[in-house]
């Protein structure tokens, strides 16, 4: 892995130094989690300035000593309302939320049953918890039901999934999962980091898209992606579970929370998103344009309708060579390969933003087609690409 320093604000067009020491190059960013284009939105920047001026730079304390400001409580209330839950607790990051939540609410008498493609931070959180851990095949509801039956004797059962899966861009079947959890008396945990702000009719997340708002026991999400992109995360859900996190979750208890400047920015992000769906609507249109363009050009894509659009190349070296060639054409998109994705599933993960204009996507599409022709993969099937490059 090699970092590529950006010498500009996060946006559709960025100035990148790559390789290190080379001249800066203006490229179109197709790999940021800046789904709503709010990372450099003027209203968010203004709010952050005002927060810095009125509430200072740092808290120099954890929450329960003297590290809670009025704006932290304001943000917790806004997130609760936005997600349609009962209560919310902030964490320094969603990684910390996922690291702390399971240990806070479960014991060795319980079981966690997770989708096999959940995010690494959830896996780390489960490792820190004494409860038994089992898995079910990705999005396989019959397999999940088998596991719920297998672990029927456990005190508490928690089914764990991402809302939108970060590498494949597909959406969890939350309506079916809610029904199974009700049938087998289990709780449902959903990480909405790649959903909050833009999935669902008003951007509340996967639970809105699946028609199960108010039926998810625990939601974790991040403010480091669509919701301004700075940092911070939270656990939101049933009041008693949030209270258990407030009393027992170690990343909450033993580290400073989100800095005032960031909290001020996220508060305004939620105001923007609560007033209008304009940005998530634009993102939806941009995603349709991008998926259609890549499909018509003959690329193999992972199916879905989210702004995460994986262009499948299958071979690790090809994914790296393809990424480099795109960069030369003025497009910044990263190749992923094992162990970040399963063996033989190497890809370029593209991510669409409401910050993109159609001219950005047209230019990026031209670059993809040019590079696709160079490697002779356009119109080729998975088997044909593997036959040419291996997997």
């Amino acid at each position: 892995m090699q970092e590529r320093p950006i010498h500009s604000a996060q946006a559709a067009d960025i100035m990148v130094e790559f390789p290190m020491g080379s001249d800066l190059k203006k490229v179109i960013n197709m790999c940021a989690n800046n789904y709503l284009g709010l990372s450099s939105h003027p209203d968010v920047i203004k709010a952050a300035h005002e927060g810095l001026d009125s509430r200072g730079y740092g808290m120099s304390s954890v929450r329960f000593i003297c590290g809670t400001q009025d704006i932290h409580k304001e943000l917790e209330a806004k997130v609760t309302k936005f997600l349609g839950t009962e209560d919310t607790i902030l964490f320094p990051s969603c990684m910390d939320a996922n690291a702390g939540v399971f240990e806070a609410i479960l014991t060795g008498e319980d079981v966690m049953i997770s989708d096999r493609l959940v995010h690494a931070s959830i896996i780390d959180g489960m490792r820190l918890c004494a409860a038994l851990h089992d898995t079910f095949k990705h999005s396989d509801m019959a397999h999940l039901e088998e596991k719920l039956i297998l672990h029927a004797d456990k005190r508490l059962k928690v089914v764990i999934t991402d809302g939108v899966f970060s590498m494949d861009g597909d959406t969890a079947k939350l309506d079916e999962m809610v029904a199974l959890c009700e049938k087998y008396d289990a709780m449902l945990f959903v990480d909405e980091s790649h959903s909050s702000g833009f999935i669902g009719k008003t951007g509340r997340g996967t639970h809105e898209k699946c028609g199960v708002v108010g039926k998810i026991d625990i939601i974790t999400t991040t403010f480091g992606k669509a919701l301004g992109g700075a940092s911070g995360g939270c656990v939101s859900g049933r009041k008693e579970l949030v209270e258990m996190c407030r009393q027992k979750a170690r990343p909450y208890l033993f580290s400073n929370t989100i800095a005032p400047v960031v909290v001020s920015g996220v508060n305004v992000v939620l105001d923007i998103l609560s007033k209008s769906t304009e940005r998530r609507d634009k993102l939806e249109k941009n995603t349709e344009f991008w998926r259609k363009g890549l499909t018509e050009a003959g690329f193999v894509l992972k199916e879905g309708d989210t702004p995460i659009v994986p262009v499948m190349l299958f071979n690790a070296k090809l994914s790296q060579d393809f990424s480099k060639a795109l960069y030369e054409e003025g497009v910044y998109a990263i190749g992923f390969f094992f162990p970040v994705v399963p063996q033989g599933q190497a890809r370029i993960r593209t991510q669409v933003s409401a910050g993109h204009e159609i001219h950005h996507l047209e230019k990026a599409l031209e670059a993809f087609i040019k590079v696709g022709k160079k490697f002779d993969i356009l119109g080729k099937t998975k088997q044909e690409i593997i036959a040419m490059y291996g997997n």
Binding site: R116, I123, H133, D134, K137, L150, P342
Partner: protein, 81 residues
């Protein structure tokens, strides 16, 4: 023993293999070969305990003892006695 091997092998194939073309034998390395991860071992242990009405102590359910179908069946047989 032969019947048990087939039952365990079939469970592993159904439970863990994503690629239908992949072939497993009684001696295929399951844990060290990356087919079964440490988390997923839990369901295998519970399956064996439920199926054969035994209790395998956690300290005996090691990655080494679960690494092949043959080794798993040897372990199960210890607790069937």
């Amino acid at each position: 023993m032969a019947e048990m091997k087939d039952i365990v092998l079939q469970y592993v194939i159904n439970e863990y293999l994503e690629d239908e073309d992949e072939v497993l034998s009684y001696d295929s390395p399951l844990i060290s070969g990356g087919i079964v991860d440490s988390f997923s071992m839990v369901s295998l242990k519970r399956f064996l305990e439920n199926k054969y009405k035994i209790s395998i102590p956690d300290d005996k359910a090691t990655p080494e003892a679960f690494d092949t179908v043959n080794k798993i069946c040897t372990l199960v047989n210890e607790y069937l006695k």
